[in-house]
């Protein structure tokens, strides 16, 4: 099979991943046209709506003050221009909002594609080490932060900034002296804003965190209500909840206090009063007309709006950049395993040898000086407490991890000398959590072969996996769609489909992590038969909860804290290993009745 070390797509757009800001900017640059359109329309809209209207209003005042015949016609002209300005203004405004909307959503979409592509390009080693579902779920929150940062975040910030620039410029255009009040205000406003957000942000964060904690306490009490009631600990829970709710209330009040002291509102009042005073003075000095004063006041009141909105948008930007950083980190992660292009390739026989294998995960030692071997076709059951190293052992075989000391050899060749693709294509893993696609059953079974699997082979695999009967029980049979939009399968049914899938690809080596158990014996019969079938003719490393599977295995490895305490067949271990005997000690030997019927030719109902 053709292998791909890294999955790439032709014509893929390349972004700059050096830092979060550069990355975001490179995404923006992809839509230069929209960025330009946005800026143009936003500037125009701002000028028209914020500046022209105020100026025209002032001109109208002057026209009216003249109190002569020409005044009326000037008024009419001004009115018509105003209507035009409003109309064009709203079109520009809509254009600006919509283009920023498109940009924001497109960037979010592109970032998602980029992340997905990068994840596909990562090695299987990377993926088997983490739950991609969790990774993507986290990334989707960060994607939302990213998109919110652009719209409404950047949009509002740019708009506010533009408003201030346009207003100040217009005032300068009216009369340079009038700049006194607005400039003072802008400076004071920026200071006050910084001080305010410095005070409010920690409180807001604490409030949000406390809300989360309170919710968690509540959630726990409700989810565990049976335990709470049974242990008569309602008072304890009430106390816990009460304390947390009170802390939240304190933050809430504190936040309200800080919000009440929002200085910019006061500054606006002062600025407006001061501006008015200044303008009045200039009017009495005959330096400006009343119309100019009117226009001036109109422009000043526009400064009110940026003051209210900016707080919230700053935090949006902060969150967006933090999100971008996390996404970038994920994309840039690499795995150190080499793919060994020139390695050994051959058809596996399936003999495996572990020799003095030592393995640590980070700083935690997992396996110590482990040695064993298995012949082709043997089933090796691995038994041990949680954390004893069972799963890690299996992950050394298909090189999800590499050993720190010692060696793992398949057919006599060290796995690190095998070509990675040749190695992995002949080793199959059936996991604890079986993943099936929301597609038809036959598509799921044939997944590995793409379009090349034929119906007969699929049916045969299903039959061997004891799945054929229940599949036929569905209305659409093999075409039944499973998953969210279709039928929900039980754990045992999913397992059998995964087994059918593995049977179809027919690997030489199987790693089976089987941690389900059936509720009733009839289903168990089916599942065990399916497992037996899939174990046939393959070397299998088996981690299971079913003691009968352990009992009938060819070889049993007993692990304790990463060391091999004992190995052998069931009878051998029962004879010499006390820890192993413990597993079976609560199951007394079969009764006389059972012995009689153990191999008798009775029907399923057992009616005599």
């Amino acid at each position: 099979m053709a292998s791909r070390q890294e999955f790439t797509v032709t014509g893929e757009y390349v972004y700059n991943r050096a830092s979060p800001t550069r990355w975001i900017v490179s995404h923006f640059l992809r839509y230069k046209r929209y960025v330009l359109a946005y800026m143009l329309t936003a500037i125009l809209a701002n000028i028209l709506i914020n500046s022209f209207i105020a100026l025209l209003t002032g001109a109208a005042f002057d026209a009216v003050s003249r109190d002569d015949a020409s005044g009326r016609s000037v008024l009419l002209r001004i009115t018509l221009s105003l209507l035009g300005v409003v109309l064009v203004g709203v079109l520009m405004d809509l254009g600006a909002r919509l283009s920023s909307e498109i940009m924001g959503k497109r960037i979010a979409r592109d970032a998602r594609n980029e992340l997905y592509l990068s994840l596909l390009g990562k090695s299987q080693t990377f993926h088997n080490r983490q739950r991609v579902g969790d990774v993507m779920a986290r990334a989707s929150n960060d994607m939302t932060s990213l998109s919110d940062m652009i719209v409404p975040g950047f949009d509002i910030i740019f708009d506010s900034f533009l408003s201030i620039v346009v207003v100040v410029t217009s005032i300068a255009f009216l009369n340079v002296q009038l700049l006194l009040a607005p400039l003072l205000f802008v400076v004071a406003f920026l200071f006050a804003l910084r001080r305010y957000s410095r005070k409010l942000n920690p409180v807001s964060d604490a409030m949000r965190a406390q809300f989360g904690t309170t919710n968690a306490v509540l959630n726990e009490a409700v989810a565990g209500i049976e335990v709470v009631k049974a242990t008569a600990q309602e008072a304890q829970e009430q106390r816990k909840f009460g304390e947390n709710a009170m802390r939240y209330r304190d933050y809430f009040v504190k936040s309200g206090q800080i919000q009440g002291r929002y200085l910019p509102t006061l500054l606006v009042a002062f600025a407006l009063a001061g501006a008015f005073l200044h303008a009045l003075f200039l009017v009495t000095q005959h330096q400006i007309s009343i119309g100019t004063l009117v226009a001036y006041m109109g422009l000043m009141t526009i400064l009110r709006y940026p003051t209210y909105i900016s707080i919230w948008t700053f935090s949006l930007v902060q969150l967006g950049i933090a999100g971008a950083e996390r996404i970038l980190k994920l994309m840039k992660e690499e795995t150190e395993l080499d793919e060994n292009e020139s390695g050994y390739r051959a058809e596996m026989r399936g003999a495996i040898v572990f020799e003095h294998v030592t393995f640590s995960y980070g700083n935690t030692p997992v396996l110590k000086d482990l040695s064993f071997h298995a012949e082709p076709g043997q089933t090796v059951a691995i038994v041990g407490q949680t954390g004893a190293g069972k799963s890690s052992l299996t992950k050394l075989v298909n090189r999800i991890y590499d050993v720190d000391a010692g060696s793992v050899r398949i057919d006599g060749i060290d796995v690190r000398d095998w070509n990675l693709d040749a190695l992995r294509s002949q080793i199959s893993t059936i996991e604890q959590d079986i993943f099936l696609f929301s597609r038809s059953i036959s598509e799921n079974i044939a997944y590995g072969l793409g379009q090349k699997a034929d119906e007969a082979a699929i049916k045969q695999a299903a039959q061997d996996a004891q799945a054929h009967k229940f599949i036929q029980g569905f209305k659409d049979g093999y075409e039944t769609v499973i998953g969210e939009r279709g039928v929900t399968l039980s754990g045992g049914q999913r397992q059998r489909i995964a087994i059918a899938r593995a049977l179809l690809t027919d690997p030489r080596f199987l790693i089976l992590d089987d941690s389900t158990s059936a509720i009733d014996s009839a289903t168990e019969d089916e599942i065990q038969q399916a497992i037996r079938r899939v174990l046939q003719g393959r070397t299998t490393l088996l981690i299971t909860h079913r003691i009968s599977q352990i009992r009938w295995a060819d070889k049993i490895l007993f692990l304790r804290k990463g060391e091999l305490i004992d190995e052998g067949t069931h009878d051998e271990l029962m004879a010499r290993c006390e820890a192993y005997r413990r597993i079976f000690s609560h199951y007394e030997p079969p009764t006389a009745v059972q012995e009689k019927v153990a191999s008798g030719p009775l029907s399923k109902e057992g009616v005599l």
Binding site: L82, V132, A232, Q238, G260
Partner: protein, 615 residues
């Protein structure tokens, strides 16, 4: 100020409480803070007055300039403007502070009350409502409850402002005032129209977004499998398609939300234009002064945003009331388990007597009829039977989680309904089917029933479960953090902790609902050993799913449709070849270590009945 596009995603809710009832009750919660609320109301009124004063003062000043041109008077007016601006800010400060305190206190009280109410509900309540619904009633519905009041206060301030200014305008020149106000209905209609559009669009986009997210989630979780089977290209194509869908859905929703402000601003500006033209005409005809004209202009700027809030008030208010109703429904719910007395329970030996007990769950399914049964002190009884046979009901009745409708249930000869439930529960140990752990350390969980227990006691108990070697596989021993709901531990380890917890509690009666989930064999052995330790010398009702447990019980009771059909030891019942043998073949046969698929059947001598339900 309530943003007028809030609350679009709330679901419809059938109301049974009357609006007036709810409002009365809401007010009663605010009554302890009446003074605070009145102060806030006064501040609201004063604030509105000052806000209205601002444009009036400016208009006056302009007129002063026009006529008397007295700079000093203008200065005075400016001083007034300054003072009113500063005062308005101060009033707002106090208003925010006081209302935050009042609202904070009310919501806290309400949350405490609802939490206590939840804690005192009996178990059937938790079967009926999902935990998510319950949690949202305590946290988010209580929040929305408070918004009813803040919404009303805001409405008050906005209506006051509106009428003040409209009144002044009408007095000055009713004809121009009407023109100026003519744009207002348009603004209200547009705001409401957008709300309605956005509401249906939000609902649609939420649904499609949920679908798209599910798709994305799935396509992403399948990456491992895709790489396993070399299907990367297909996965990528599929993902692109789904991502594109999501883009379009998001975009459409965004258009609506982003389109509204430009439109509203444009409407306000058209209003300004109308005032400029007609007002200007009026100034020419000396009907109004320039200052008044300025006042008219300013009023539009002041009023258009509050108008949108007024427009959306009613529907937001209704949502708040709906939330309040959910909260009160929770507080008012009738408990089904009622004690007739509160006698103390100091010591129990553990004799349990069912006498002619009649129990029907939920008034629909009758579970037990004329049920008679006795468990001696210290006896371990295993219950087996098909689903619905009544096994878990027996345990739940003894635990007093459900109420029975007839007959008597005696513990040590005393009527269970006369107990102080708190006391009684202390003598009862319950191990549910799925062990639940609280986030914290293992030691915290073990001592949950007796928080005052010392570290030595906890360690001793932990050692007594399965010879204590389950602790050595834990990274930090007893101080290991178990994570949310115990997720950091394996299923088997969680069960061991649950056993230790009950052991520390040292109850006289144990109700154990055995887990059906599979556990690794070593831990299974430890659990079985732990059970042995736990059950010694205590009465126990075990809903058994494990062969080993059944074998070690003093007595096995076979239930069928609420009646005891067989009774005895494992060996005796197997030889009988009756209902028990049939249950064995169906549920326990595969648990034997010598099991091979399709083998190990026990002969059944009685004709098989058609039971197809599981256990």
């Amino acid at each position: 100020m309530g943003f007028f596009m809030d609350g679009l995603d709330a679901e419809a809710y059938d109301r049974s409480y009357k609006d007036s009832q709810l409002v009365k009750r809401i007010i009663s919660y605010f009554r302890p803070r009446l003074r605070l609320m009145l102060t806030v109301a006064v501040l609201v009124v004063l604030g509105s007055l000052l806000d209205a004063a601002f444009p009036i003062l400016i208009a006056r000043s302009i007129d002063m300039l026009q006529s008397a041109r007295a700079f000093q008077i203008a200065l005075l007016l400016v001083a007034f403007i300054l003072a009113s601006g500063a005062l308005s800010w101060v009033f707002n400060l106090f208003r925010q502070w006081f209302s935050a305190r009042a609202v904070g206190d009310v919501v806290l009280q309400l949350r405490r009350d609802t939490f206590n109410a939840v804690m005192s509900r009996d178990m059937s309540f938790f079967d009926e409502f999902s935990s998510g619904k319950i949690v949202s009633r305590v946290t988010s519905d209580t929040d929305k409850f408070a918004t009813v009041v803040t919404l009303t206060l805001n409405l008050l301030s906005q209506i006051l402002l509106f009428f003040l200014i409209a009144g002044i305008l009408l007095v000055r020149n009713w004809h121009l005032a009407l023109l100026a106000l003519s744009i207002m209905p348009a603004i209200v209609l547009v705001a409401l129209g957008f709300r309605r559009l956005a509401r249906s669009s939000t609902q649609r986009s939420q649904r499609s977004l949920a679908r798209v997210n599910a798709n994305v989630q799935e396509v992403v979780s399948g990456i491992t499998v895709a790489k396993n089977f070399r299907q990367e290209q297909n996965m990528y194509d599929e993902f692109k398609k789904v991502n594109e869908q999501s883009y379009h859905v998001n975009l459409r929703a965004g258009y609506l939300y982003n389109g509204i402000f430009p439109v509203l601003i444009a409407l306000a500006n058209i209003g300004t234009t109308i005032v400029i033209y007609f007002g200007g005409q009026d100034v020419f005809s000396h009907n109004i002064s320039a200052g008044d004209w300025f006042l008219f202009l300013q009023s539009i700027g002041l009023l258009w945003l509050p108008l949108t809030s007024i427009a959306s008030f009613w529907s937001q208010f209704q949502l708040g009331l709906a939330a309040s109703e959910r909260v009160f429904a929770l507080l008012d719910a009738e408990p089904r388990v009622r004690q007739i007395d509160k006698q103390p329970v100091t010591h129990l030996s553990g004799k349990i007597d069912f006498r002619d007990v009649y129990f029907s769950y939920d008034d629909r399914q009758t579970v037990l009829v004329d049920f008679n049964f006795t468990i001696q002190a210290g006896e371990t009884v295993a219950l087996v039977g098909h689903t619905g046979a009544g096994k878990s009901s027996l345990g739940k009745l003894v635990a007093r989680f459900y109420e029975f409708q007839g007959g008597q249930l005696l513990i040590d000869g005393r009527d269970i309904r006369t107990f102080d439930l708190h006391d009684y529960h202390r003598h009862l140990g319950v191990v549910p089917q799925v062990p639940f752990l609280f986030s914290g350390t293992i030691a915290d969980n073990i001592r949950y029933a007796r928080p005052e227990a010392s570290d030595e006691e906890v360690a001793t108990i932990a050692q007594q479960i399965g010879s204590g070697d389950w602790l050595e596989s834990l990274p930090d021993g007893l101080q290991t953090l178990v994570g949310e709901e115990g997720k950091a531990l394996s299923m088997g380890q969680r069960q061991l902790v649950a056993l230790a917890r009950v052991l520390l509690q040292n109850p006289s009666i144990i109700i154990l609902d055995e887990a059906t989930a599979s556990v690794d064999p070593l831990t299974e052995a430890q659990i079985q050993e732990g059970l042995d330790t736990l059950l010694k010398g205590r009465s126990a009702i075990i809903i058994a799913h494990r062969l080993s447990t059944i074998r070690h019980a003093d007595r096995i009771i076979v239930l069928d449709r609420g009646r005891i059909v067989e009774e005895g030891s494992h060996e005796a019942l197997m030889t009988q070849g009756g209902h028990y043998a049939q249950l064995y073949n169906t549920y326990f046969r595969h648990q034997s270590p010598d099991y091979k698929p399709g083998e190990g059947f026990v002969p059944v001598l009685i004709p098989a009945r058609n039971e197809s339900e599981g256990m």
